[in-house]
Symmetry: D3
Subunit: 131 residues, 6 copies
């Protein structure tokens, strides 16, 4: 069970309801993830985290699907079970196909392999990559 419990909409104080409302409006859904319900016991962190996510994941120089795939890639690399589950759902909602998922995981796997080969072999950075 979540450390501080999950706060349902009906039980939430106005400043939490305001964030929940903005999450649902921004995402076009009537569903609030457990993540937000767990954070809601600390309304300042709930608001700050949501505002940051909203800013960071908005369309920009990188498109929303790529952003969701990067989020999933980092979560898989960090082996965060909750995050993998929720961002797999989010990436699919943003259009990720099974083939894209599989290629994404292949890149994540290779990056984790070569990151350790590099450090284990104590490879010095190439002069040309330093500038």
């Amino acid at each position: 069970m979540a450390t501080l419990g999950l706060m349902e909409y009906a039980d939430a104080p106005p400043e939490v309801k305001a964030v929940y409302d903005d999450i649902m409006a921004t995402r076009g859904t009537d569903y609030i993830n457990n993540f937000w319900k767990a954070l809601a016991h600390d309304p300042a962190t709930l608001r700050r985290t949501w505002e940051s996510i909203k800013q960071v994941m908005a369309p920009g120089a990188v498109d929303p699907l790529t952003k969701e795939m990067v989020y999933l890639a980092v979560s898989a690399s960090n082996q965060c079970g909750y995050c993998i589950a929720s961002h797999t759902a989010a990436a699919r909602k943003a259009g990720m196909t099974d083939a894209q998922f599989a290629e994404l995981m292949a890149v994540v796997g290779m990056a984790n392999e070569t990151n350790r080969l590099v450090s284990g072999y104590q490879v010095e950075i190439d002069e040309r990559f330093l500038t």
Copy 2:
């Protein structure tokens, strides 16, 4: 210094030269990264790793720029200095702009933050993400 040293082209046995040649041909360059020169002391690992990278990073359901950005995202998350330097260069060569780089890092940062909030708060996975 790299644990087993860096193997230059001129000193390489034929099976290493063959991989170096394929790297340069595939990437349209006459430059071999230190990473490959460090691995070259183990020709089997050199070949296997190169063949894997070549397969994984090839255009497919995910485009090459996105793949390079994911590789960089994982390397930044893992804090592998060499990998960040080399894949920043690779991503730029593949077309990554400064604005794309900045947005990518913002996503990497947020994912690392929320990955820990989720685990620290012991958030259980939503029923709907399990199926």
Copy 3:
């Protein structure tokens, strides 16, 4: 199930019972966590780990509550489910309030975010931090 099983007090050899007794006496409890029961199959590691924990977590220049909160912070950062659960309980027993928990997690989250921004942006260490 734990790899080597959980060793109950009644089944334990004398050198394990001695550690269990010291754990219960030191902590003022009659409960032995699964962690110790799992380690008990290797009495040398059980004793060494317990003696280390006892030394490290004792009151000193840093108070016990802060130490428990740091332990929880590291465990959350490492995403160790068992450790988060057990050290949340330990920190609460040491006096951690819900508000302190929430602020602790906010710091853990930010540290994980900025750790990756720093590495991803390849920020060099300031001259003044080197001395």
Copy 4:
């Protein structure tokens, strides 16, 4: 060198100068860390990150010294060289003594050890820690 370079105050656009000014005023210093100068090429991330840090590190239910020590603990656990250097300086400025530093590192070390013993031994969470 930082990927996008370090932005000096004199070269900064007004929205970056405003953040730099707030950092210096809040911290009572005339020095801006390389971290902020590196982020400044993305003013939105600079502002968001600074506002988050300011909120999270402010005095609250947890005192500022403890927060700095937790930040350092997480950075040491993550092995982020820059972050360790800068947050060691920050913790000392907040009053951390050598003895507190040493005890902090001892806790970080033990937490990292037992986190892996727990997972390696596949220890199941105690019933009593689940509620």
Copy 5:
């Protein structure tokens, strides 16, 4: 549930059956782990990963039991639940005793502890280790 599901032998296309057959023949078993069944939705990754594992884990300068123990050590250090479970089984099949397992975990624990003490104390590399 695995993101793309688990592909059973009977439902597998020929290129997947060929890998499954090789896994079973190489390992002298009629059992296919869930890992391979999950990867099977991406036959190229399935084949590449299996061929790599087969090459890397084959007897060579390092014996198969040691290789399995190293695999388990890394998986425990990374806290990958599935990997710990499956490689504990594999290491036991290769001959790992309970005493060897316990000593292995003790080394993994100490390495994780001292890795952080080193970074937290900002220890510079000894001159003699650089050459």
Copy 6:
């Protein structure tokens, strides 16, 4: 520079000299690594860490070379530069050949890759690995 500096033998108090003497006697060397010199400012941690290392790395059910290789494998996986440098030296002193090093790193690389494939694909643990 190490946070608390490096304590030379000539400047050390008796309890530190005693540990230094035991390190040199146990290892058959007249050299003290920077790691120990950095920890020496906290004599309790110095002694505890050394006693733990001495116990854990002693010959037992697992031979000393394998233990050093596991230590190196974990350090490479964690990307701890100091630890990789010092344990590469230690493993070589214990007899590790270049071929063994290369195979070790290949295993470390694969384990890091498949650890993330497993988590990214959300593979559930096989029934048979749970008992």
